[in-house]
C-alpha cells in the first residue's frame, strides 16, 4: 500500500460550543478520485479547512505526506496541495487571466516575472475550462458559472499533485460540470494525482469518483470504493431519504434515483 497523502487521526473541531468534527479518522491513498458527500452542515468544509491548515484542530492530528500539517510553510504546501473554495471570492476587477495566474503564486519568486512554464500552465488551464475568449475580461463582470470555471482553472494552473475541491460543480451547467470532472478524472488516471471533491450531485459522484467518503454529524459514516459505499442503506442512514441505486444502460454506470417524499419515510 502506498504511503498515504493524508493521515487524519481523532480529529475534533468546534466553532465555540458547537462541535463540528468529533474524533474523525481518515486515510487518503494517492492516485484516487474521492467524492466527499454528506448532508448540509455535517462538517465537509470544516474538514477541508483542517486539511489545508486554515483551521487548527481542537484535538487529534492531520499529517500530509508523512509530516504534520503545522510543519509545512504556506508556500511549500501550496506547491503540493491546492484547494478550490466554495465561494469564488472574486470581488476586485482582476482579469480572468490574472486570476488564473494567481494559481502560480507559490512558484514565482517575489519580484520575478512568470516563467514560460507558468504561462504555459495558465494557457492550458484557460483552454481546458473554455475561458480563452474571456481571458481579458474583469472577473467581477462574469456570471456565477464563469467565476466557478475561473477558480477551477486557477487550481489546474497551480498544478498540485493533491487537489481538494469544495463543490467544484457549483453553478456549472451540465456540459461544463461533466467537462470539469472529466478533467479531474483524467489528472487522476493519467498523472496519478489525488482528488478529494465535495459533491452534492450523487449521480456525478457515482460517475466520476472511484472512492466515496460519506460524512454525517462530524464523523465518517462510510468510506470505500464507490460501488460498495454508494448503496441505498448508506444513503438512507446519512441523508434520511429513500433511494435506489441501479445500473443504467444509457449512462453506462450506476445511477441514483430518489422517492419524492423520501424524507418522510
Amino acid at each position: 500500500m502506498a504511503e498515504p497523502v493524508f493521515a487524519i487521526r481523532g480529529l475534533s473541531f468546534a466553532y465555540g460550543a458547537q462541535p463540528v468534527l468529533r474524533g474523525l479518522d481518515l486515510t487518503i491513498i494517492p492516485g484516487r478520485f474521492h467524492g466527499l458527500v454528506g448532508p448540509n452542515g455535517c462538517g465537509k468544509t470544516t474538514l477541508l479547512d483542517l486539511m489545508t491548515g486554515l483551521l487548527r484542530p481542537a484535538a487529534g492530528s492531520v499529517s500530509f505526506q508523512g509530516r504534520p500539517l503545522a510543519a509545512w510553510r504556506a508556500g511549500e504546501l501550496a506547491r503540493s496541495l491546492s484547494l478550490t473554495p466554495q465561494e469564488p471570492g472574486l470581488g476586485f476587477p482582476y482579469t480572468v487571466r490574472e486570476t488564473v495566474l494567481m494559481g502560480r503564486h507559490a512558484f514565482i519568486p517575489r519580484f520575478s516575472a512568470p516563467s514560460p512554464r507558468d504561462e504555459e500552465l495558465v494557457e492550458a488551464a484557460l483552454t481546458r475550462l473554455d475561458l480563452v475568449a474571456l481571458a481579458h475580461h474583469p472577473v467581477t463582470e462574469l456570471s456565477g458559472g464563469e467565476k466557478q470555471r475561473v477558480i477551477l482553472a486557477r487550481a489546474l494552473a497551480q498544478d498540485a499533485p493533491v487537489m481538494l475541491l469544495d463543490e467544484p460543480t457549483n453553478n456549472l451547467d451540465v456540459r461544463h460540470a461533466l467537462a470539469a470532472l472529466g478533467e479531474l478524472e483524467r489528472l487522476v488516471r493519467e498523472e496519478g494525482r489525488t482528488v478529494v471533491a465535495v459533491l452534492h450531485d450523487l449521480n456525478l459522484a457515482a460517475a466520476f469518483c472511484d472512492h466515496l467518503i460519506l460524512m454525517d454529524q462530524g464523523r465518517i459514516a462510510a468510506f470505500g470504493p464507490t460501488p460498495e459505499a454508494l448503496c441505498a442503506a448508506n444513503l438512507e442512514a446519512v441523508f434520511g431519504v429513500r433511494a435506489a441505486v441501479r445500473w443504467d444502460e444509457f449512462a453506462q454506470g450506476r445511477v441514483v434515483v430518489f422517492q419524492k417524499n423520501g424524507g418522510a419515510a
Binding site: 479547512d49 465561494e87 471570492g89 476587477p93 494567481m102 494559481g103 503564486h105 475568449a133 481579458h136 497551480q158
Partner: protein, 353 residues
Amino acid sequence: MNHHPPTAAPDPPPRRGLRQALILGLLALLLALVVVTCGLGYIRVAPDQVARVVLAHLTGGEAPVARLVDQVVWEVRLPRILSAAAVGAALALAGVVFQGILLNPLADPFTLGVSSGAAFGAALALWLGLAFLGPYTVALLAFLGAVATLAAVIALAAKDGQTSPTSLILSGVIVAAILSAGISFIKYLSGEQVSVIIFWLLGSLSGRTWLEAGLTGGAVIVGFLVFLFHARDLNLLSLGPRAAAALGVEVRRVRLILLITASLVSAAAVAVAGIIGFVGLLIPHLMRMLVGPDNRLLLPAAGLAGAMLLLLADTLTRWALPHEVPIGVLTALIGGPFFCYVFRRKQLGVGRG
C-alpha cells in the same frame, strides 16, 4: 448576467514598460506641481526661481534671489507643500491597503477608527493644554491615540489569534463610536478652547515645518516599501483568506504586517494634518479604474495621485480662495460629489471596473 461574444476583442494587459512609463510620468508631474505651487501665493515666484532656491539649499550654495523670496520658498511654502504631498500619499496608500485587507472597496484609512483615536488624542492634548513637546505635543498625542485605538480594535476583533475582515470593521465602528462620544464630552468640557479643538479636527496644513514634513515623508516612504514588498500577497488576500492561504500566502502574518503598517502610516498623516477625509477612499477607487487592481502598479500610482490631489487642494485653500477653508472640509466638499459622479458612472456601466 453578461453575454460575451466569443470573438470579444481582448484588451491586452498593459506591458511592463508602459507601466513604468506611467509611474515615471506621474512622478514627473508631481515634481512639476511642487515647483509650480511653491511659486503661488501672496508673493509670486517664477518656477525657475523656485528651482534655483531649492538647488541652492541642496548644494549648500547661495540662491541668486532676494532673501525674502528665499525664506518664503524654503522656510514657509516648501515644508507645507511637502507635508501636503506626504499626507496625501499616506492616506491614498493606506486606503489601497485597507481596501485589500478588509475585502471592502468602501474601507479607508479611517474605517478601523484610527482617525477617531487620533482625534481623541489631539482633543485631550488641546483640552488639558499639554505642551511637554512644545507645538508637537498635539501631533504626538494624536499618533498615540491612533495606535492605541488600532491595538484595541485588533484585540476586540481577534478570535483564536485570527481576525476576520468583518469582525475588524465591526470592532472599528464600535470603538470609533465610543471615541466620538469621548470627543464630544471633551468639547463640552473645554469651554472656550472648543474652537481650537474643532479647528484641529477639520484638518489643516498651514504652518507645517520641515520636521513635520520629514516625519510624515519618512513614514510614507518606509510604509510604501513595506506595502510594495507585500503587493503580490495583497493581490491574493483580495480573494479571501481561505483562497489566499491555499495559494501560498502566510495570511495571518502578512495581514497583521499590512494592517499595522497601514495604520501607522495613516496615524502619521492624521497627527500632522488632522482629519482629512475622502482622499483615502477616492484615490484608490479612481486609480483602480485607471490602472486596474494589481497592487504592484496601483500602490505607486495611488500614492503619487494622492500626493498631487492633496497638494492641489491645499494650494486651493492657501492661494485661490479668499479665506483659508479647512482642508478636511474642502476635500469632503469636492471629493463627496465627485465620488457620487464616479460611483454613478460605474453603476451605469460606463468605464472599466
